[in-house]
């Protein structure tokens, strides 16, 4: 089971205080979720300014609609859904142009260059993927969404989600493994996209 960055405990009393409009309670919730929410937006959008706007707008919506939180799901999941919707809306508006995918680039499925790469290198490689591809990878691997869930959120098919995951994984491998011949070509394609 994947553990989301959002998976943080929020006391019921804090939620009630926020529902009552107490600004101090809002701040405590904000401080708790600022980094997970910003990180999710940044991974999906790849742009610090857009991620900041997403954080701001999602938090504002959450606080304005906190009375609608019924408590039938964990508070963090409710909050994450709001952030995700905000990020997806921005992603849709961008209309990313995906580069053509070469199935041969998947290469050896057992090789996992990310296990050897340091965080900065992996971060850099990730940022070179197209936003939609990167979002699918992040939602699937880090936030723990299934392909049907991702497909529904993005308004696409399950096949689309699966193919984006496969493409993204292949590209990451190629970007991280210097032995793959077309790395430089891929880097250029990714940067352009």
């Amino acid at each position: 089971m994947t553990s989301s960055f959002f998976d943080l405990e929020v006391p019921q009393s804090l939620i009630e205080r926020a529902r009552a409009g107490e600004l101090r309670a809002f701040e405590q919730i904000y401080r708790r979720f600022e980094r997970p929410m910003y990180t999710l937006a940044l991974r999906m959008l790849g742009d610090p300014e857009a991620a900041r706007d997403t954080l701001h707008d999602a938090m504002l919506k959450a606080f304005q609609r906190i009375g609608q939180y019924r408590g039938d799901a964990p508070f963090w999941a409710w909050l994450r859904q709001i952030a995700l919707n905000e990020a997806l809306m921005r992603l849709r508006n961008r209309r990313d142009v995906e580069a053509d995918f070469d199935p041969d680039l998947i290469g050896d499925e057992t090789s996992a260059p990310w296990t050897q790469a340091d965080g900065a290198t992996l971060d850099r490689a990730l940022s070179n993927l197209p936003a939609t591809t990167r979002s699918v990878i992040w939602l699937y691997h880090v936030e723990g969404y299934s392909h049907p869930e991702i497909a529904e959120m993005m308004g696409k098919t399950i096949s689309f989600s699966k193919s984006q995951l496969a493409r993204g994984t292949a590209r990451l491998r190629a970007l991280l493994d210097p032995t793959v011949e077309s790395v430089s070509c891929l880097m250029n394609t990714a940067v352009l996209s």
Partner: protein
Amino acid sequence: MSDEYSRSELTLGAALRALPTASPNGDVWSELAAKLAPPVHARRVSFAMPAAIAACALLAVTFVLMRYHAPSTATVAGTSPSSVLNATTETQNVNVANATNVANDTNGNLAALQARSRELEQWLHETADAATPLPGNDLAAAGEIESLIGIVDVELAAPKQRDEEKLWQRRVHLLEDLTALRYSNYRLAESSTAANAGHPSTWIN
């Protein structure tokens, strides 16, 4: 999807989750707090509205009480009777309206309004002890009215006042509101005193 591919995916997930979380530039919370905090004027309105509603309700109750319970030739025993209270209640209402209407229609408008203002002010002064203490809601409404009278006085004190007549008219209206507010309390106090003394109040038919 093969087992080997699944293992590869899981490893990628672990590597991604190991990446540090990021934080935004600048103070996003301050921007949010400014939008979430209720504006100052909203608090002012939230106080003024109940006070205004209370004042209107009180005026309506006072009018009904005056119409159905006041004697035709009522006088207030033990206090200095003023022209305001010596008149019958219904006549008083007519007089108030007449005083304003007459003031609007004749050349002596300003003098009539000023006289009416003095009359009301004198009555308020004379009955101040008997009318207090006011209940909480009445007190708030009275405070609001007194503040508005103060604003009118400031405007009247300004040199070369073009709308002097309108201001005096407004002052009279405000004093009438204050009179009605005080009047109901004043009558209650009088009734209570009369009942305690063992004789019927002159205000009850």
